[in-house]
C-alpha cells in the first residue's frame, strides 16, 4: 500500500463521510472504490472501464431500446 493525502472541500468531505458511514466503510475505502470505478481494469484497454457501468436489472435491456427511446405504441 502507498499512503497519499487527498484534499477535499467541506461539502465533499461531509458527503463522503455520510456515504462511507451508510456503507459501513472508512472514507479511505470509499475513495479506493471510487478510484476503481474510473480506472481501467488491470491489463485491459481504457474503454473496458465502461463495461457494465450500469445495472438495469433487465436481461432484455438491449432488446428494449426502441421502447425506451421512442416509446411504446398506443
Amino acid at each position: 500500500m502507498i499512503r497519499t493525502q487527498v484534499s477535499l472541500d467541506k461539502h465533499e468531505y461531509a458527503l463522503a463521510k455520510k456515504e462511507a458511514k451508510a456503507l459501513g466503510i472508512s472514507i479511505a475505502e470509499l475513495v479506493r472504490r471510487a478510484l476503481r470505478q474510473v480506472l481501467p481494469p488491470q491489463g485491459q484497454p481504457p474503454w473496458m472501464r465502461y463495461a457494465g457501468f450500469v445495472e438495469s436489472g433487465n436481461p432484455d435491456s438491449s432488446r428494449l431500446i426502441d421502447d425506451v427511446v421512442y416509446g411504446t405504441k398506443d
Binding site: 457501468f53 436481461p59 431500446i65
Partner: protein, 134 residues
C-alpha cells in the same frame, strides 16, 4: 496475422456491453475487449444517448458519449440530406417492417461498406443479408 474485418456496431451492441444486467453482456464484453475496426451511425449515437438520458440521467448519457470517444477503433458516420434520401428508399422497400431511421442508416452503411458482420441483436439489421454476430 489476418487483418480484422470492419464490423458495424448497432445501439444494442453498445447497450449489451454497458449494461451488466443484459443477457448478452458477457459476450459483448469479450468482443469489445479486443475489437476489430468498428463503424456506426450518428443516429445510433443519438439513440444510445437518448436511452441513457431517459432511463437514467444526463451524467450517464454523457458517460456513454465519453465511452464512444475512448473507443479508438470506432468511426461514426454522419447523417445528412443525402443519407436521408438513401434511407427513405430503403424504408419504402421494407415498408412492412418497423425499421427506425437509425436501423435504416445502419443497413445503408453496411451495404456501402460491404460489411461482413453486424454487432447487433436486432434482427432488422440482418434484413439485407449481413449476419448478426449473436
Amino acid at each position: 496475422m489476418a487483418r480484422k474485418i470492419e464490423c458495424y456496431a448497432d445501439t444494442s451492441a453498445f447497450i449489451a456491453f454497458l449494461d451488466r444486467s443484459d443477457s448478452h453482456h458477457p459476450f459483448f464484453r469479450r468482443l469489445f475487449s479486443d475489437p476489430p475496426p468498428l463503424f456506426t451511425s450518428s443516429l445510433v449515437v443519438a439513440e444510445g444517448h437518448g436511452r441513457f438520458l431517459r432511463r437514467y440521467d444526463p451524467r450517464r448519457a454523457l458517460q456513454f458519449l465519453q465511452f464512444l470517444d475512448e473507443l479508438p477503433v470506432l468511426v461514426v458516420w454522419p447523417f445528412g440530406a443525402e443519407e436521408l434520401m438513401k434511407c427513405k428508399r430503403l424504408l419504402k422497400k421494407y415498408a412492412d417492417q418497423s425499421i427506425t431511421l437509425a436501423d435504416a442508416h445502419g443497413l445503408v452503411l453496411m451495404g456501402e461498406h460491404r460489411t461482413g458482420t453486424c454487432w447487433s441483436i436486432d434482427r432488422h439489421l440482418s434484413l439485407t443479408g449481413v449476419p448478426l454476430v449473436v
